[in-house]
Each structure stands twice: as structure tokens, then as C-alpha cells.
């Protein structure tokens, strides 16, 4: 096992990052009296871009681990990023002293949060290697926050490395973008995802192939589809919507159903992680067993966690709806592919008869209009339109088209 195992289908990026980690290691072990080793492979600011689910944050974390790798094998010439040593392990579980991962459950990262980052970035690393700051949602930086970071990203302390992640280069302020080395992750091929699911999660190959295809290259989603029966059922329900929208009543029902299933989904995710997180924190603060009293003065910490979980629930709901809409768009994409006779693989091969029926009963123009309706709905949700209203508008236009 190495730290790169979780980075699926990105061989080129992995090669580049390994080389960088190697050069970074050479910089640390170099004798200051001698000439500096060639360090062009390494730089102080990286921008990871790639479509959602391609594993930007995972790649950034793996790189951080490789930078902190203290495996004894490295002296013998092994590549950094063993995945076992203290440096790798604590980075991957998120407790390494020199790796700060910034993520947000909110819609934006404001100036206040970034001020502290600037201060941190000018500290020296505690472990004597690198101080790594991973900004998982660089696209959510407000303009003000981005400007606060400019100076720190451009000229950080000699041992500070910034790893920014964003869906695309355009999502980041041009002034920040120009200060980073860009790394583009591609949508991982379905085979690579399926392979990972089989290898790591022990999923049945056939199921893995299905999940990888259905997830449109989103690794996390694929794992969820492959391992969670409920997620598969909900997906099937979503894909039944095109057949439900033949009359107005059906349209409204379909919209309601989508919202309900998103709420349900968020609740299930929350059930799994919230309880575990709360329990871990309670144990760390010294409360043993559920319901027992917390030591004095720690209630605030727990309250913070609860607030954070609540915000995450809101975001999960949004993300779930968004994913449902992508599934829906995927269905119409398949219909369109059949209609124009394109020789690509269908995302929903198991629904072939339904897709054929739809393809025969409508024209490509209709299908395109429907896809447009789905995408409009995504945009509306993004702008904070009430979910039920936006979905109703979508289902009605799916019918009208």
C-alpha cells in the first residue's frame, strides 16, 4: 500500500507529484554546505483542478502525506509516500501537526478564516519537514479572502506548501491562479474506478462495473452505489422520473419524491458519521458513555460540532439533489446518444429497453430541451431557489418538452 492508492486513474498526476515529493525530500536532506539540489519538480503552491469526484482533495492529501513521509526505506532509495510510517499515517487520518486541511461546510470561506491561515503559513514546521496547508474548497474563497491570501501564497515561508483544490482553473481568482502550479486531474475512466472498488472495497466485479459506469466518474459516488443498497434504490427511483411525468399530477409527485429522498439521504449520511464524530469528541473530552455529563467548560466545543453537523446536513441535501439531477441528465444523455446513433457506452446500459422506447417516441430536439431543463434546475438550486419549486418547474418542463 502507498499513499497514492486512493488516487484513481491519475497516473500522470501521480508521477508528477511523486517526483515533486522526491525533490522536496532531497531539499530537506541536502547538506547546506553543498550546492542546492535540483528542485524544479517541487514548488510552494499547487492548484489541483478536476471535475467533482475525480479526487482532487484525495490527491492533495496523498501529496501532503508523501511530503511528510519519514519511512526508513527512503534512505535506501524508496519513493516517498509509504503509507505506513508515522508521517504518512497521521497525515491520512488528519492529525499531523504540519498538515492543515481547510474545508468548509458553508458556501463560502471568508476573510476571517483566511487571516489565521496567513499567520499559520508563516510558522516553521513542527516536525522539521514541510508545513502543508490544504485548501479543499479554494473555489469557495470570497474575493476578499482570496486577496488576503495573495501575499502568503506568492511568497510563503521557505518550508510552507499550499495545496489548493478547485473544480476548474476559472473558479479561482486569476491572481491566485497565476501564483500556483496547476495540476489537472481527469475524470477517472470507469475501468479504473471499478478496479479500485474490487481491489479495495471487495466489491463484486459486476457490481463494481455497474457502479463505476453509473457514477459518471465520481469515485465517492461509485463506492456508495456499490456498497449501499439504499443509494441504488434511490437512484432507480430517480431514473423512473422520465416515465412519471406524463401528466401534471405525476410531475408534482415526482418532484416531491426527489426532495423526500434527498432529505432521507442526508439523514442516513448524518446518522452514520454524526454519531461517530460526536462519540469520538466526547471520549476525547473525557465523557465516557452516551448521556454522561461532560467535564466543565467543554459544552461549547460540542455545540460547535453540532452546528457544523447541521450545516453539513444542509449541504448533503443539496449535494444529493444535485447528484439526482446528474443521474437524470445522464439518462437523457443516453436517450440522445441512441437517437443520434453515437457509438458511446451508455451510462445506464441496464435500462436499454426504456431508453430505446424514449428514443423512438421523441426527437433529439426534445431530448436536448429536457437536458436543458435539468441543467436549469441545477442552476436554480445553486442560486438558493426553494428545492421543491425548482424541481416542480423542472418536471413540468420535462413533460412539456
Amino acid at each position: 500500500m502507498t499513499v497514492w492508492d486512493d488516487v484513481v486513474g491519475q497516473q500522470r498526476v501521480v508521477d508528477q507529484l511523486s517526483a515533486a515529493a522526491l525533490a522536496a525530500g532531497a531539499l530537506i536532506t541536502a547538506d547546506p554546505a553543498e550546492a542546492r539540489p535540483d528542485s524544479s519538480a517541487m514548488t510552494h503552491a499547487w492548484l489541483f483542478t478536476g471535475p467533482p469526484g475525480s479526487g482532487r482533495a484525495t490527491a492533495a492529501r496523498a501529496f501532503a502525506a508523501a511530503l511528510q513521509c519519514v519511512s526508513p526505506d527512503r534512505a535506501l532509495g524508496a519513493a516517498p509516500g509509504c503509507g505506513f510510517c508515522e508521517g504518512c499515517h497521521t497525515t491520512l487520518v488528519g492529525t499531523h501537526a504540519d498538515v492543515e486541511v481547510v474545508r468548509t461546510d458553508l458556501l463560502t470561506i471568508g476573510v476571517k478564516d483566511t487571516r489565521d491561515l496567513v499567520r499559520r503559513s508563516s510558522l516553521t514546521p513542527a516536525g522539521g519537514r514541510w508545513q502543508v496547508i490544504v485548501l479543499e474548497d479554494a473555489d469557495r474563497l470570497t474575493e476578499g479572502a482570496g486577496n488576503v491570501l495573495l501575499k502568503a501564497v506568492e511568497e510563503p515561508a521557505p518550508r510552507t506548501v499550499w495545496l489548493l483544490c478547485a473544480p476548474s482553473l476559472e473558479d479561482v481568482l486569476p491572481t491566485i491562479r497565476s501564483r500556483c502550479r496547476a495540476l489537472v486531474l481527469r475524470t477517472p475512466p470507469a475501468e479504473a474506478i471499478a478496479d479500485t472498488l474490487v481491489r479495495r472495497d471487495g466489491v463484486d466485479p459486476q457490481m463494481a462495473a455497474f457502479a463505476a459506469r453509473a457514477a459518471h466518474g465520481h469515485i465517492g459516488r461509485a463506492r456508495r452505489l456499490a456498497t449501499d443498497e439504499g443509494a441504488r434504490t434511490r437512484r432507480e427511483e430517480v431514473l423512473r422520473i422520465p416515465q412519471m411525468v406524463s401528466d401534471i399530477g405525476g410531475c408534482l409527485k415526482a418532484a416531491q419524491q426527489l426532495v423526500d429522498s434527498a432529505v432521507e439521504d442526508a439523514r442516513q449520511v448524518a446518522e452514520g458519521t454524526d454519531a461517530k464524530e460526536t462519540e469520538e469528541l466526547r471520549a476525547a473530552l473525557g465523557a465516557s458513555g452516551a448521556g454522561s455529563r461532560l467535564p466543565r467548560g467543554t459544552a461549547g466545543v460540542l455545540k460547535d460540532l453540532q452546528d457544523r453537523q447541521k450545516r453539513r446536513a444542509t449541504r448533503t441535501q443539496r449535494d444529493t439533489l444535485d447528484r439526482a439531477l446528474i443521474d437524470l441528465a445522464g439518462f437523457y444523455r443516453d436517450v440522445l446518444a441512441v437517437q443520434v446513433g453515437a457509438a458511446t457506452e451508455l451510462c445506464n446500459a441496464e435500462l436499454r429497453p426504456t431508453i430505446d422506447r424514449f428514443a423512438a417516441s421523441s426527437t433529439p430536439e426534445h431530448t436536448l430541451r429536457r437536458i436543458e431543463a435539468v441543467l436549469d434546475c441545477r442552476r436554480a438550486l445553486d442560486r438558493n431557489v426553494a428545492p421543491l419549486l425548482a424541481l416542480e418547474a423542472m418536471t413540468v418542463s420535462l413533460r412539456a418538452a
Binding site: H89, T95, A97, P125, A126, R159, G286, T298
Partner: protein, 376 residues
């Protein structure tokens, strides 16, 4: 793991180590205190990614081992235990604390997720704990608080042979303190920039021992860590990158006037007059023939004036200061008499302390303060 230790020893050690635990742990394991028992000693460590604290006490160790428990809870428990020897032992994923007839069972946290504690650099020299704490307090007052200018939030420690110089600035004032210490190597020379807040806390917490030893890891190259050790307690803290501006030339050496004022009445007067000074408006000081007139407020608003005896050598001068910065300096000189040296009303003034009106100024501590430019 199993060991026995005196209750007072444990309570004191736990309380000290738990002080450095983060109030809001970034990761649950950081709320833990790492207990390590080996060959007659028990060490307790806490870490918040920036500052690490480690204390060693003698203990009767039966089985060696390492365990991570909630620091907060252990501190609460050890504080309230009866005054009997305490026995701590692990039992699977639990820790039993037995003291007299009371018995506690605590959960442990995963040790393998705990980050590596930074290694303590080798000691470079030592200084009496109270001298160090006082010097740090005098200088840290002038450090900046703006996180977007990280360099100015630090205190610069410069070691040159047997002299240590502490310096801090926030651009409006500059505090410098020199003191002597005992270096390990006589011709040692090093510079470090330490976050002011951390340094202040650390210096205060180490006053219990006779001396504090300072340990600087190789300066430059970004591997900087500074360690402090006193009476079995050691802390390390991460340094700030960068350096303060070269300040030696900022301090004027020739003056057109030197005023000597008794500190206590001066402080009282500044405080009174400053009551009418609104935010960011100055207190004006006018020195004329051994009388100091303090004024604040503008003619449109409330005004205050007060007269005070002062001794002035040199030309009369009128100059204005931010009252907070002036008061900070007056409290930091820690002397019965204050000496203010001026060049002109637009150039910084130098504040230092005198043990008595007629004594020489104490040059160990100097506080440079920028005047506020008066319009018209």
C-alpha cells in the same frame, strides 16, 4: 502500563501539561494527554500543533507503557483526589486511576493517531526564570496583533555571546530589552522570531524553577523550533519565518531634549486626560520650563488639560502620542521615574526608566514610540 505517583506531584504535573491543550481541539486526539511511563519517570505531554508541553516527574513504575487519555478529565480528577498515592494502570482500552478508596475508569484515545511531538533542541544556555518572564512581558507588549502581518506578531530573540536581546514592534512602537545569560558556548550567536503570545504564556509558566534554559534549533532553513526548559518542564514552540526590520538605526542616539518625570503621577495624569481623547486621537504633551502640560480633546468636543512637574534639559517641545501606547510603555519600564528623550516633534521619542530622579537611566529596556503628527 502501571505506575504509582504522589497525588500532589501528579496533580501539579497534569495541571501544567493540560494548560497547553487546545480549548477547541482541531482533531479529537489533541484533547488528549500523552502519558509515558518508563524506568522511574513518568512524562506527560500535550500538543496543539504549535506549542508542545512536556513535564517529567518521578514515579514508581511497575510496567512501562504509553497511553493517551482525555487531558481535561484527568486534570479535573487529579485535582480533586484525596492526598494519597495514586496508582494508574491500563486495562485493555481503559485506564484505572486508584487513589485511597476512590477509583476512576477512563477511556483511552488511539495513541497511533497522535502526532509526533517535536524533538527538543539542545540547550543553548540558561537565565533566571523571573528575569526571563519580566523581560518577555516588557517586550511582548509592543508586539503586533494583526495576523496578516505575521512577522510583527513575534518577539525577536537575539543571542550574541552572553547577551540576549528581545525586541518587538507593531510599527508604532518598538520595545527592546537586553539581559545577560549563561550560554553553553561563549561565542554563540543566534536569532529567532517567536510568536509573542506563546512566548509570554511560556515564560510565565516557567517561573517556578530557578532557571529557564533556552534551546534553539538550527536557525534559518525553516527548521526552527525553540525550546524552553525549567524544573522538569519543557515546552517547544514553532518559530515565525522572517525577521523584524533592522532596528538599531531607528533608535536615535542624539537628543535635543530629555524630560524626567515621576512615573506614577504621570500615568495617572495621562489616564485622566485620555478620558476625553476619542479613539485614535492623541494626548498632547507640552514641556516648558520644568512644567509638563497634558492636553486632549479638540475645541469642538470635550477637552482636558493637566499640569505636572517635570525636569527638562534642552529645548522646549510639544509632541503628541497615542495614549494607549504611551501608557503601555510607562507600565513596561517598571521604574519610579520615566525618562523621555526627544529629537523633534515628528521623530520618535525614546522612553526608558530611572531608579531615581538623579540616577542614570536604565539602558537595559528601551521603548521607542512614534508621535502622532498634529495638523496645524
Amino acid at each position: 502500563m502501571k505506575f504509582r505517583v504522589e497525588r500532589d506531584v501528579l496533580a501539579e504535573a497534569v495541571a501544567w501539561a493540560a494548560r497547553s491543550l487546545p480549548a477547541r481541539p482541531p482533531a479529537p486526539v489533541l484533547a488528549g494527554l500523552l502519558l509515558k511511563a518508563s524506568a522511574g519517570t513518568l512524562s506527560l505531554s500535550g500538543f496543539d500543533y504549535e506549542v508542545s508541553a512536556r513535564v517529567e516527574v518521578e514515579a514508581d513504575v511497575e510496567d512501562e507503557g504509553t497511553v493517551l487519555v482525555s487531558g481535561r478529565l484527568l486534570a479535573d480528577i487529579s485535582r480533586s483526589l484525596p492526598n494519597r498515592p495514586v496508582e494508574l494502570s491500563t486495562d485493555g482500552v481503559r485506564v484505572n486511576v486508584v487513589c485511597g478508596s476512590s477509583r476512576f475508569t477512563l477511556h483511552t484515545l488511539p495513541v497511533d493517531e497522535y502526532p509526533a511531538l517535536p524533538a527538543m533542541p539542545e540547550a543553548s544556555g540558561s537565565v533566571p526564570g523571573d528575569v526571563f518572564a519580566a523581560a518577555v512581558a516588557q517586550v511582548a507588549i509592543a508586539a503586533g496583533r494583526d495576523d496578516t502581518l505575521p512577522v510583527l506578531t513575534g518577539v525577536r530573540i537575539e543571542i550574541e555571546g552572553d547577551t540576549v536581546t528581545l525586541a518587538a514592534t507593531d510599527r508604532y512602537r518598538f520595545a527592546v530589552r537586553e539581559f545577560l545569560w549563561k550560554p553553553e558556548v561563549s561565542d554563540m550567536s543566534a536569532v529567532a522570531l517567536v510568536p509573542a503570545k506563546t512566548l509570554l504564556d511560556t515564560a510565565k509558566s516557567l517561573t517556578s524553577g530557578d532557571t529557564v534554559s533556552l534551546a534553539l534549533a538550527g536557525s534559518g532553513g525553516g527548521e526552527g523550533l525553540i525550546g524552553f526548559e525549567g524544573a522538569g518542564r519543557r515546552t517547544t514552540t514553532r518559530l515565525l519565518e522572517g525577521d523584524l526590520p533592522k532596528y538599531r538605526t531607528l533608535f536615535p542616539t542624539e537628543f535635543s531634549a530629555v524630560a524626567v518625570i515621576e512615573t506614577a503621577p504621570f500615568v495617572e495624569a495621562v489616564k485622566r486626560v485620555a478620558l476625553v481623547a476619542e479613539r485614535n486621537t492623541p494626548v498632547r504633551l507640552t514641556f516648558e520650563q520644568d512644567v509638563l502640560t497634558l492636553e486632549a480633546g479638540s475645541s469642538d468636543d470635550a477637552q482636558a488639560t493637566e499640569r505636572l512637574d517635570a525636569r527638562l534639559e534642552g529645548d522646549d517641545i510639544s509632541i503628541a502620542f497615542n495614549p494607549t501606547f504611551l501608557l503601555d510603555g510607562l507600565s513596561a519600564i517598571d521604574s519610579p521615574v520615566a525618562q523621555l528623550s526627544f529629537t523633534t516633534h515628528t521623530k520618535p521619542a525614546l522612553l526608558s526608566g530611572r531608579p531615581a530622579i538623579d540616577a542614570e537611566a536604565n539602558e537595559a529596556y528601551r521603548y521607542l514610540i512614534m508621535p502622532v503628527r498634529l495638523s496645524g
